[in-house]
């Protein structure tokens, strides 16, 4: 069910004292810590990029063994499913749970922390008017745009952290999926694409203005070119103009339902309720991968180096399956399956390695060529759950065991 009440901008900042006199702020306010836009070695949002490929082309994660470079405590909600993945932007690791902690990616030293919680992976988007990006947190009924550099630190508090807020008065629609994590925001072209209360919103990352909104109950949208693609269960895959929200693309399948989408370089890779499908950008179905012995759920599909990686169920076990995206043929299946609660976690791909949290077996990296396990990481007798990874530079960043970890080659 899609709620119909309008979203409203709230004056959350306009309480007493918020609009202090601007005289004299001058250059002091412009002299905040500079932070470059997300690029290069960054992992600035869930599944790495607007296309949602979970593939970091410049990262070189550990291949033959792993050790802890640093770790830092993080207040997270205890649960049985995998947690919220960290992101990495301009040498800083952003980790969110019951608190927001920003750490130096190299040393793990705290840059700032604040009592902000979120229900999903944050994202950092370019903001036209600002010298630093907008850190976007999605709550149950709201989206918050924060200064990615933390605003001004005063006596241990972050003063003026918030840039803008978007709130919905709607109640959150409860879908039919077991997904208990909110859809993560996507940062693309100075815009934040967020799914909130049964709607997809395009929010100006700088001003917080809602550019457009559509009533689609979608998982994480993906962006390719000028279009935002969403999979709307039961209806198909739709593409909307990033600038205007006008529908420009529609495709559906005769014999299966689209539950998620990843934008590959040459085609869309659609997660269906019985497998995967390749969908060209002109709407033609190029291939379908739906073996009789495998089933799957809403888990995300990663696409890197010409291969799609996704979790499947079959024969009483879970599997990580690699599928050639040009032909739809299975390359291999590995018993090192991604964590499946609440749904298959997105594998992270870089430099011939696929990193993923595993159910009861710690965090693992498998070889992208044949699926064999290259290394596993556990802490003591705590097998997990671990979050999906952010791959940046030569390190793997994950959250689990009440800590943020930076892992490096042993």
């Amino acid at each position: 069910m899609v709620p119909t009440a309008p979203l409203t901008r709230r004056r959350l900042l306009a309480t007493a004292g918020a609009s202090i006199g601007l005289v004299g702020l001058g250059s002091a306010l412009a002299a905040g810590e500079s932070q470059s836009t997300p690029q290069g070695d960054d992992w600035p949002m869930a599944r790495h990029d607007p296309a949602g490929r979970s593939y970091a082309p410049t990262a070189t994660p550990p291949k033959d063994g792993v050790r802890v470079r640093w770790k830092h405590p993080l207040d997270t909600e205890l649960g049985f499913h995998y947690g919220i993945a960290p992101i990495v932007v301009d040498g800083h690791v952003f980790a969110v749970g019951e608190e927001l902690v920003v750490l130096d990616a190299a040393s793990g030293t705290v840059q700032f922390r604040t009592d902000r919680s979120a229900r999903t992976v944050p994202a950092v988007a370019d903001a036209r008017a600002y010298r630093s990006g907008t850190l976007t947190l999605v709550g149950q009924t709201s989206v918050h745009g924060l200064h990615a550099n933390g605003g001004i630190e005063l006596l241990g508090s972050q003063l003026g952290l918030t840039r803008w807020d978007v709130e919905s008065n709607d109640t959150v629609s409860i879908g039919f999926s077991p997904d208990q994590l909110a859809a993560p925001p996507v940062a693309a072209a100075n815009t934040v694409i967020a799914s909130l209360a049964g709607r997809v919103l395009a929010i100006d990352a700088s001003s917080g203005d809602i550019r457009w909104e559509i009533g689609v109950d979608a998982r994480r949208p993906v962006v390719h070119g000028d279009l935002v693609y969403v999979a709307d269960y039961g209806r198909g895959v739709f593409g909307y103009d990033l600038a205007t929200g006008d529908q420009q693309f529609e495709a559906s399948f005769d014999d299966t339902m689209a539950v998620g989408v990843t934008a590959g370089p040459e085609q869309l890779v659609v997660a269906t309720d019985d497998g995967l499908a390749g969908l060209s950008y002109d709407g033609r179905v190029r291939w379908q991968f739906a073996p009789d012995d495998l089933t799957r759920d809403y888990g995300a599909v990663s696409v890197g180096e010409g291969v799609a990686y996704a979790g499947f169920r079959g024969g009483g076990d879970n599997w990580l399956v690699a599928v050639d995206v040009s032909t739809g043929a299975e390359r291999w299946r590995s018993p090192a399956a991604p964590e499946s609660s609440p749904q298959f976690a997105p594998p992270a791909v870089a430099d011939g390695v696929v990193c993923l949290p595993q159910e009861d077996e710690g965090f693992a990296a498998v070889d992208a060529d044949d699926g064999h396990v290259r290394w596993r990481f556990r802490r003591g007798d705590v097998p997990g759950p671990w979050s999906p990874a952010a791959l940046a530079g030569d390190a793997v960043y994950i959250i689990g065991n009440g800590h943020v970890y930076a892992l490096e080659e042993a």
């Binding site: 609009s19 306010l29 412009a30 008017a129 840039r163 001003s207």
Partner: protein, 271 residues
């Protein structure tokens, strides 16, 4: 120059015009009549309204976050009475949104906010001085500007959020008492009185006219809120209400008793 005396009907400051009663409708009617005889006051405030509306238009379209006036369309009922004669802006930039702006947008944002403040101060000063038939002096405008800046800063804005009525009702009553007792304040400042003196005299002169002034506060505050709720032209509408407000202040100064009868001698501000 109006055809009425400098302080209303030829009555000198400090000597109330005892021939006219202080009633809500009477004061507001006289205020409108006074405005009709002093069109430049109305014109200046309307011009300020146009400028503020233009600034709003720019702020709502630039990439710097701004908060919009929460008006009647959002189910909010408010008595938007600010004591000073002001034009209400529909777009405001939160202080936190100014942090870390690129230089171009920092200059633009601060510049627009300052321009808006300046326009409101000058238009309000001019309108009050014309309606009071006094000369505009730099010290008076400076004092008035200081009060306008403080009020518009939001430092005195009180917001009730989920509080109990047990707490809210006494606070609201107290706020209205302060509003009522300070209705003549902007006019007294333009007469040349120091802020402290203007506060004391406003407070003292309104002592026996609480309900009448409460009516004026209510009418002007509600009208301001209604007009401020209008998209785009809201500030122009509030400028019209501000003109009536200025007229009412001028009328009240001529009709309310002054605690000291030597105003002219003490301030020397009368032309």
């Amino acid at each position: 120059m109006t055809d009425e005396g400098p302080l209303g009907g030829g009555v000198i400051a400090g000597s109330p015009d005892s021939t006219r009663s202080v009633t809500t409708s009477g004061v507001l009617t006289s205020a409108v009549q006074k405005l009709a005889r002093t069109p430049s006051a109305l014109g200046m405030l309307l011009l300020a309204g146009v400028v503020v509306a233009g600034i709003d238009w720019l702020q709502l379209r630039d990439p710097v976050p701004s908060t919009t006036y929460e008006g009647i369309e959002q189910g909010r009922i408010a008595v938007a009475f600010y004591t000073i004669v002001t034009v209400v802006s529909r777009a405001n930039t939160p202080a936190s949104a100014v942090l870390n702006l690129k230089q171009r947008w920092l200059l633009t944002t601060v510049g627009l906010e300052l321009l808006e403040l300046l326009v409101v101060i000058l238009a309000g000063s001019y309108a009050l001085a014309r309606l009071l038939s006094v000369e505009i002096t730099f010290p008076a405008v400076l004092r008035y500007g200081l009060v306008v800046s403080l009020v518009r800063s939001g430092l005195f804005e009180v917001t009730f959020e989920g509080g109990s009525m047990v707490l809210a009702v006494p606070l609201l009553v107290g706020l209205f008492v302060v509003m009522v007792r300070l209705v003549p304040l902007p006019g007294r400042i333009l007469l040349g009185e120091p802020i402290g003196t203007a506060l004391r005299r406003s407070w003292a002169s309104t002592r026996e006219y609480g309900w009448q002034l409460f009516g004026i506060v209510l009418v002007i505050g509600l009208a301001t809120h209604l007009f401020a709720s209008l998209p785009l032209v809201g500030p122009i509408g509030t400028a019209g209400v501000a003109a009536v407000h200025a007229g009412a202040v001028a009328v009240l100064i001529s009709r309310l008793p002054s605690p000291s009868g030597d105003l002219l001698a003490s301030t020397g501000s009368r032309p």
